[in-house]
């Protein structure tokens, strides 16, 4: 047998079986189609006698078939097509409702996203918030029209920042890990559903209009300890809305009483913090880092939490001789009593001394915020481009104290192990 014949033979033996899911989808397609255009034909054949009524009925059927064709059976939308469409529309408006299983409920809002750094939120109570993080000093404006009151909050050194929103997360779903949910009818439209669970804490359902290939509804469930603690519903989407840029101004309108608040996110004391200083201020054990041969530079600073809370944290930056920047963070309440979610992450390393290293569910965003804040505060560490390799690991010491480790570039297991073994409890 010639090689070509052998290839022919092999290719002919190829067999991949259609999944039951595809059988179900095709069945649904056929049933949907069988329900629609043919029934009037039976009635026609029985009751229509004259040519005029036949012609009139034919016209009705032509219109009916036209509507059926224009509405279509809805050729299936691939998830990649939804992502492609979303990437074409940066500006969007949606209604966002949050349902919490307990605690304070959040009012429903209409949110206008200009981009990831600028948005306007209109509450159902009439209050408005503008959040502008495009510049080094971020600004928020809160408007209370009933009281004619405005609160301007300046967040010094907080920006420029991109705040990843739910649509940004949705865009990252990969085709292979996004499951189809079939179709549902809503307001006369047939929507196609997709499901994606990137980790055990987040569960997304997205319903898409097959014509526009854009989301019509998004539901995000936040799950902790196996319970849905919060569900965010987004609907009433309007992509490329027409609201003018002036609607995003952080200047208070005329006639409003203005209260100005300042939150300073710039480094409190960029230089000269010692590990002993940390120990005095933390409500649990603090750790010093013994210098390793591959450290080029090490510096500790005290800083407002770059994630946006007003807590203070201690960040130790390490510049390595292979060009990496690593930031270790310690803070009050960085402990297992507070961070109960950590053991549910992937355990990536455990040292003989019992130090455990876990992944972080939003590791790259977390790493970006800490690396950017540190490099801005200590210019000698600056000049690094934030890398796509960046990652975060949570270090759990045997006594339950937690430190976070963010690095700009990949690190070998040996490097990470040496680093966490160099942590010394400050007596």
């Amino acid at each position: 047998m010639s090689p070509t014949d052998k290839i022919d033979n092999l290719i002919k033996q190829f067999k991949i079986t259609a999944s039951p899911e595809l059988d179900r989808r095709i069945d649904a397609l056929i049933e949907q189609s069988a329900e629609q255009p043919d029934r009037p034909l039976t009635i026609w054949s029985k009751i229509m006698k004259s040519n005029i009524t036949k012609s009139a009925a034919a016209a009705v059927i032509v219109i009916g078939v036209f509507i059926f064709l224009t509405q279509g059976n809805g050729a299936s939308v691939a998830w990649a097509e939804v992502v492609e469409q979303l990437n074409l529309h940066e500006k969007y408006k949606c209604r966002q409702q949050v349902v919490r299983s307990e605690g304070v409920q959040v009012p429903t809002k209409n949110i206008y996203h200009w981009n990831l750094s600028l948005r306007r939120q209109e509450g159902e109570d009439g209050n408005i918030q503008i959040i502008d993080m495009r510049n080094e000093d971020a600004v928020t404006l809160e408007l209370y029209p009933e009281q004619k009151k405005a609160i301007v909050t300046k967040l010094l050194g907080f920006g420029p920042k991109k705040d990843p929103d739910i649509i940004d997360m949705v865009k990252r779903f990969e085709q292979e890990s996004t499951e189809r949910l079939g179709t549902k009818k809503q307001d006369g439209k047939v929507l196609q559903g997709f499901h994606h669970q990137p980790n055990e804490h987040n569960d997304f359902t997205v319903w898409v209009d097959p014509k526009t290939k854009l989301p019509v509804e998004i539901e995000l469930k936040h799950i902790f300890d196996g319970q849905v603690r919060q569900t965010i519903f987004m609907d009433e989407f309007e992509f490329d809305f027409t609201l003018p840029m002036s609607a995003f101004s952080t200047e208070a309108p005329e006639g409003y009483t203005v209260e100005t608040l300042i939150n300073d996110y710039r480094p409190v004391e960029p230089l000269g913090i010692s590990f002993k200083d940390i120990q005095k201020e933390l409500n649990h054990a603090a750790f010093a880092i013994e210098t390793l041969p591959w450290f080029e530079k090490i510096q500790t600073i005290k800083h407002t939490n770059p994630l946006g809370s007003k807590d203070l944290v201690y960040m130790t930056g390490i510049k390595t001789n292979d060009g990496n920047v690593i930031v270790l963070v310690q803070g009050n309440y960085f402990d297992m009593n507070r961070m109960v979610w950590i053991p549910r992450q992937d355990l990536v390393l455990e040292t003989p001394e019992g130090i455990k290293l876990y992944t972080h569910p939003n590791g790259s965003i977390y790493a970006q915020y800490f690396l950017e804040a540190f490099m801005k505060a200590v210019p000698e560490f600056g000049g690094q481009i934030i890398s796509e390799e960046r990652f975060t690991r949570m270090i759990v010491m045997p006594e339950g104290v937690v430190l976070s480790l963010s690095a700009n570039n990949e690190m070998s297991t040996e490097q990470i192990q040496a680093l966490i073994e160099s942590l010394v409890n400050i007596e």
Partner: protein
């Protein structure tokens, strides 16, 4: 097919039952991803229903469906290439969620896996010619019209593809 043309949509169920595995196999071998492959087959059947009354098929039904699936797969391949250019921040999604080798979903035996991997290493157009020729039994002339290129180009793609396939399989199967 006559039942289908007369408006009997359920005839499509019989057509689907008869050819579904062949169509999914072709699309999977072309796209190397079973989810996208099944989407391509679904697209073809959705379009068939849309065009039920006006559809005239002059070739064999199997060949018609194979050609339609090849067209739908090519569209999806091009779309996939475009969206892959969008930078993804994979860190925010745990790696275990994103690392799903397409082969694992296909459940092929070892020999077929070798062939599947070798086929996926070929440029798309060469892979398409080889599969349409050997799996779908289409003539070069039909493939040329499908790819919108000359007969010589198709034969060239076939020859190069076959040579590369032989060297990729490197005596393991041949």
């Amino acid at each position: 097919m006559m039942r289908f043309n007369r408006g009997d949509a359920t005839a499509l169920r019989d057509i689907y039952g008869l050819y579904k595995d062949d169509l999914v196999t072709l699309a999977s071998a072309l796209l190397h991803d079973k989810t996208s492959a099944e989407d391509a087959v679904h697209d073809v059947f959705a379009k068939l229903l849309d065009r039920q009354k006006v559809l005239k098929i002059s070739q064999s039904l199997r060949q018609y469906l194979m050609t339609a699936v090849a067209n739908a797969a090519r569209q999806r391949y091009r779309l996939g290439k475009k969206t892959a250019e969008v930078p993804l921040d994979s860190e925010s999604i745990p790696e275990s969620q994103t690392q799903s080798p397409p082969e694992s979903a296909m459940l092929l035996d070892e020999q077929q896996q070798h062939l599947s991997s070798a086929l996926s290493a070929l440029p798309y157009e060469q892979r398409e010619v080889i599969l349409l020729r050997h799996f779908s039994d289409l003539k070069f002339k039909t493939i040329a019209s499908l790819q919108d290129v000359s007969l010589n180009t198709v034969q060239g793609r076939y020859r190069y593809g076959l040579d590369k396939l032989r060297s990729l399989l490197n005596g393991e199967l041949l």
